[in-house]
């Protein structure tokens, strides 16, 4: 649809209002509960192992531009870096998007400063490789094989390069923790990494780790909206089953006409 229909206006405004209300109420200090995401403990374990082995940590925030996914991934990587800094360990962070670079460099510098170890932070550990997907992948693969990091943290938007990075990490025997909202790449992280944070859990993980009221509130708002959506779908199915298409028709859509058009065309095989 190029412009909103009335059902679209209603749904969008109601959903938006719920989410914004949840965020605002959390910012005003309402206590909110988020269940623990399994796999988060793995982060400390992986940092600890790198320290024991005296080898660096390699992390990536994927190919995303400066959007929320990338910023949330950076928040996770900074919390990793803080722990690493306390043990005096290095974190390498190759970057694919030029605009993300200065932001990432700042974030890591702050993490090291917060841990009181700004002396061991090297700006060059955060380096731009390429905007181009496979040039980036080739660059990261090279770094992994040369630097032999003990653990890899892969958080953010990933595409096909996920497996190139994760298998090279696996080959050198690194502990790997990954988390991405990119559905198609999760299976490969599952096959090659030790711990994987799946889909939506990515948003929850940042909220859980950072305990930021905004994120917690947003997550609760999203939960409510998802609940409403699920209820609407189930209700719609039940009503439709008993010959009452009210909910079904609410989500009206011009495509139906299109499907019927092509069903009627000659030679479409019915």
């Amino acid at each position: 649809m190029e412009h909103a229909t009335w059902p679209a206006r209603i749904v969008l405004i109601v959903f938006s209002a719920i989410i914004v209300a949840a965020v605002l109420s959390a910012q005003r200090g309402r206590k909110l509960f988020i269940r623990r995401i399994p796999g988060l403990t793995a982060i400390d374990e992986a940092v600890g192992r790198a320290t024991e082995m005296g080898r660096p940590i390699l992390s990536s925030v994927g190919l995303g531009g400066i959007d929320i996914i990338t910023l949330q991934a950076l928040a996770i990587i900074s919390s990793v870096a803080q722990t690493a800094a306390r043990y005096g360990n290095r974190v390498l962070l190759p970057i694919a998007d030029p605009v993300v670079l200065p932001v990432a460099e700042d974030a890591l510098r702050e993490a090291y400063t917060a841990a009181g170890r700004s002396d061991i932070f090297h700006a060059e550990d955060v380096s731009f490789l390429s905007e181009r997907q496979f040039a980036y992948a080739a660059g990261v693969a090279g770094i992994i094989n040369r630097e032999k990091p003990a653990s890899l943290f892969l958080f953010g938007t990933f595409f096909a390069e996920s497996l190139i990075i994760a298998e090279n990490g696996n080959r050198i025997g690194a502990i790997q923790v990954a988390g991405t909202p990119s559905t198609t790449q999760i299976p490969f992280f599952i096959a090659s990494c030790d711990y994987v944070i799946i889909g939506d859990e990515f948003y929850a993980a940042t909220a859980y780790l950072t305990r930021q009221p905004t994120l917690l509130g947003s997550l609760v708002g999203q939960d409510i909206v998802k609940g409403i959506l699920l209820a609407l779908v189930v209700l719609g199915v039940l009503l439709l089953s008993f010959g009452q298409p009210a909910v079904f028709n609410f989500f009206e859509d011009k495509n139906l006409a299109l499907m019927q058009y092509f069903r009627k065309m000659p030679g479409t095989g019915g």
């Binding site: 412009h3 965020v23 928040a75 096909a160 497996l163 298998e167 559905t183 490969f188 998802k226």
Partner: protein, 262 residues
């Protein structure tokens, strides 16, 4: 005021516009720290409001409203501004490798190689665009087809090797989850290649027995099991995206990037 100008006079106007920009820049530097965040929030809000209102505002009979005519200029502006951002990447790449050459750090020779490749393709591409002839076209093709395209598709195809080692290592019946993962992958793989399909092509092509043909089982898995699961993940991500958009638009976002003093 905004009328096209013909002839060399246009340069006068362009310089005028740049001077005006300089004045605006100077005015911006005068803004005290405490007004900076509200200004940024306002700009974010207005930029978002444009597309939001254009979508929500009731439309007339021709399905347009008062903002629709501005969609096209906004699109062109976004294209041009996005293009200017490329320089950020070029700047950081060049500075890292120039430093490595200047200090003759180990492997600085590779930085020289990088620069050679960078200039070769950029210059031959531009030459070919401005002076298209067979010579320029061939030189550009050498780097583009022979180099970049080959490297790109090779690096992508390398995943085929990694997928074999990952499947061999990870698809073991060690846990319930691993076993589930393995079994659906196994059936899908069988059903998607001709040789696998041949295993069950003795089954009838129509009627109930056809359901047991491996390619039909695969389609069933993809459409009836995989799609609702993916749809469920999508719904969650969709709500996340809406929430994200709202937090950004209304400048509700907090955290290191957004909290920093400006």
């Amino acid at each position: 005021m905004f009328r096209p100008v013909q002839g060399p006079a246009v340069w006068g106007y362009i310089i005028g516009a740049l001077v005006a920009s300089g004045v605006i820049f100077f005015l911006l530097t005068l803004i005290p720290g405490r007004f900076r965040k509200p200004l940024i929030a306002l700009i974010t809000f207005l930029a978002g409001l444009f597309y939001a209102l254009e979508f929500f505002w009731p439309t007339g009979r021709d399905d347009t409203n008062f903002l629709t005519p501005f969609i096209d200029p906004a699109g062109q502006m976004a294209q041009v501004l996005q293009a200017f951002a490329l320089g950020l990447g070029v700047y950081s790449l060049v500075s890292v490798h120039l430093r490595s050459i200047a200090r003759q750090r180990s492997g600085w020779g590779f930085s020289v190689v990088l620069f050679a490749a960078l200039f070769a393709i950029a210059i031959s591409g531009l030459l070919n665009a401005y002076r298209p002839n067979r010579y320029n076209q061939n030189v550009f093709n050498f780097f583009f087809v022979g180099g970049l395209q080959a490297l790109d598709s090779t690096m992508f195809s390398i995943i085929a090797f990694y997928i074999v080692s990952a499947a061999y290592r990870a698809f073991r019946i060690r846990s319930v989850e691993a076993t589930i993962l393995l079994s659906s992958a196994f059936i899908v793989m069988l059903g998607q290649v001709a040789l696998g399909q041949a295993l069950t092509n003795w089954l009838p092509a129509e009627g109930f027995g056809a359901n047991l043909r491996v390619e039909n089982i695969r389609t069933w898995i993809l459409t009836r099991v995989n799609s609702p699961a993916v749809l469920a993940v999508d719904f969650g991500l969709g709500m996340g995206a809406l929430a994200t958009a709202l937090r950004l638009w209304l400048s509700l976002e907090r955290g290191s990037y957004f909290d920093r003093e400006l």
